[in-house]
Symmetry: C2
Subunit: 379 residues, 2 copies
């Protein structure tokens, strides 16, 4: 049993809720812009992490710039708010042609991606039928982790040739160094960034030698963007999680804990004193099931426990999670945790900002009286 | 490259989306009702899995019955639809007293739970100030997995005594056998169900011997509900996932794959033929990050791959997932997967119905023309 003053229930928002530290957000954006400034590349931020008009507006000084989206629902949302130049970063499939065509018809400069002749042929047939012009990037697989054609694959030429006539227009190449999330050192991250660049630049060279104009050469991931030493030939960089950062990025050495702008605010609802557990009302529904730090040097459980001001507390992590219950315990498993009374508010730093933010409809802003920025989810 | 007919894009809903098989749902509900019929207990289904008025209505024949919720937002939603008898299954904290009081003031028969004298004292003070009557169950920890007091703990008597006067009324005891999700045999599940029953029945005996009336003796989890052999003394059973079932439940032997009513519909968007991969547009955002089968005898990755009619395909699972990309491969890692052309629609059976459903705002009903049941999320 704790002997402490319980907070007055009328003072506080019901937990769990998502909190965003705008000062950290702005600093993270400034850092990325400063990093990319010498490279003569366009930053085309991936808004799949934030899915928020207010957050995305801060990524640009003034008017809406080019963005990357992970769903056509994001494209709709941001286009309606004035974002005209949108790269849809998942290979288009036939059941999404109609949706893409609606956006293009409304004036959106939508860039679609694809990596196979089947889709290219289907899109060409659709575009002719619909009398809509599609702009397309070809996806390159720089590290074997997902979609895309191998760098300099002759199939790239086949697809580009399919687009020489008709309403589908080849604009360039793109790739994503997904394996950067599993690098263990700065050297490995620099190597990843080099391979990411080489994959698209070499493919673009091959396409240019075959007579194709290549306007857009696009790379992107937060770790490679921040560790790239040379982006010669690249025209744009996509990255998203850098705006918030998270424990996975901190584990990679890409940011510090104190750079993480996103946290989940939770309330202490109980204790199991003999086990050294504090129970809170943020479970996996509030944090997501993402356990991205499990494979890193420091496993952060479901998140690092901070006081309400965002300062990490001793060695505490959210060690376990049920749907609406979180179990706070010491990372080392030794020693009793500090006394956190019933009703105490805590902040949990998440493993993966994209996954945690997606559990909420908006962000409460740290240090404000309930200022709230909405976000979208779903498809 | 695949040589196949691409589906006509105008015939189909954009993927990914959530599909519910209502016939399976009804059969699963019938099975639970039949199982509990001999025991003279009330079924108080946990609606945290479905969060849907239409699904919950099918859990009752006719008028709204007693339910369990995991958030006060669920309580609001279901109360507004006529559900009057609601157990909020997470220990109440001071910052939720106002919300609970609003529900009670509006006529909701809300049951709150708590497991410590601090909360009981704070609630008593609040209830007196607000002139609102709260009904409370004490939470028992039957298997050490989460919240609650030990069975027959003298603290139960302390708290019950705190409620003898004033506006907080002790109504009974409840527990949840969370460890049932990790049982490896029918015997172990039966044992879990026995321990769950004993924990609350013995605690209720102690409280009755001390002179307290114990109206409600509540247990609940889908595995223990379906494997219980004796519920003597128990007044009600809470269970939720049984309505949908999922791969974790199938792995426990609690249901068959063909009982799983929930799936995610996805589209083939690419291939990596040399790796035997088929890429689809359902990643972890569409399935959730839940990897609940990872610790079971058969690791199902992010889900079992079925054709659009729900029949499992060969040995295929969603082996890997990025935010909006899923990688389908053979579970055994041997042999090439069957040819799944670009544009083909597939259904993925999820590891954990609660987590997967929470990624969506509603259910499309299998075998219908876009019939849709909305659901809620968040807090």
């Amino acid at each position: 049993m704790q002997n402490s003053t319980l907070p007055d229930s009328t003072d506080i928002i019901e937990t769990p809720y998502l909190m965003l530290d705008v000062q950290r957000l702005d600093n993270n954006i400034k850092r990325m812009r400063a990093k990319l400034a010498p490279f003569n590349v366009t930053l085309r931020p991936h808004v799949k992490t934030n899915k928020s008009l207010e957050v995305t507006a801060r990524l640009f000084a003034g008017e809406p710039g080019p963005i990357t989206v992970s769903t056509l629902r994001e494209a709709d949302y941001f286009f309606a708010a004035g974002y005209m130049d949108i790269l849809y970063g998942v290979a288009i499939s036939p059941n999404k042609f109609d949706h893409a065509a609606r956006l293009i018809g409304a004036g959106c400069r939508l860039l679609c991606i694809l990596d196979n002749p089947d889709t290219a042929l289907a899109l060409a047939a659709y575009a002719e039928r619909a009398a809509i012009n599609f702009a397309v990037l070809l996806e390159i697989d720089c590290d074997g982790h997902r979609s895309g054609l191998p760098p300099r694959s002759p199939v790239l030429l086949d697809i580009a040739r399919l687009m020489q006539h008709g309403n589908v227009h080849f604009r360039g190449v793109m790739t994503h160094a997904g394996n950067a999330y599993f690098c263990r050192s700065a050297d490995a991250l620099e190597q990843c960034a080099r391979e990411e660049r080489d994959a698209v630049v070499n493919s673009a060279d091959m396409l240019r030698q075959a007579g194709f104009a290549v306007d857009i050469i696009s790379v992107g991931s937060t770790p490679t963007a921040l560790f790239a030493r040379d982006l010669t030939g690249v025209t744009e960089v996509r990255a998203g999680v850098f705006a918030f950062f998270d424990l996975v990025m901190a584990g990679l050495g890409v940011c510090r804990l104190e750079d993480i702008a996103l946290s989940v605010v939770t309330t202490v609802i109980g204790h199991q004193a003999d086990k050294g557990w504090t129970i809170v009302d943020a479970g996996w529904m509030a944090l997501s099931r993402d356990r991205g730090t499990a494979a890193q040097a420091i496993d952060q459980g479901y998140g690092v426990v901070c006081d309400i001001h965002g300062r990490p507390i001793a060695d505490l992590i959210l060690q376990g999670a049920n749907q609406e219950h979180g179990i706070i315990a010491s990372r080392s498993g030794t020693g009793a945790p500090p006394s956190l009374p019933i009703g105490a508010l805590l902040r949990i730093l998440p493993n993966h900002a994209c996954a945690t933010a997606a559990q909420y409809n908006g962000y409460y802003l740290a240090g404000t009286q309930r200022a709230y920025w909405p976000r979208i989810n779903g498809w």
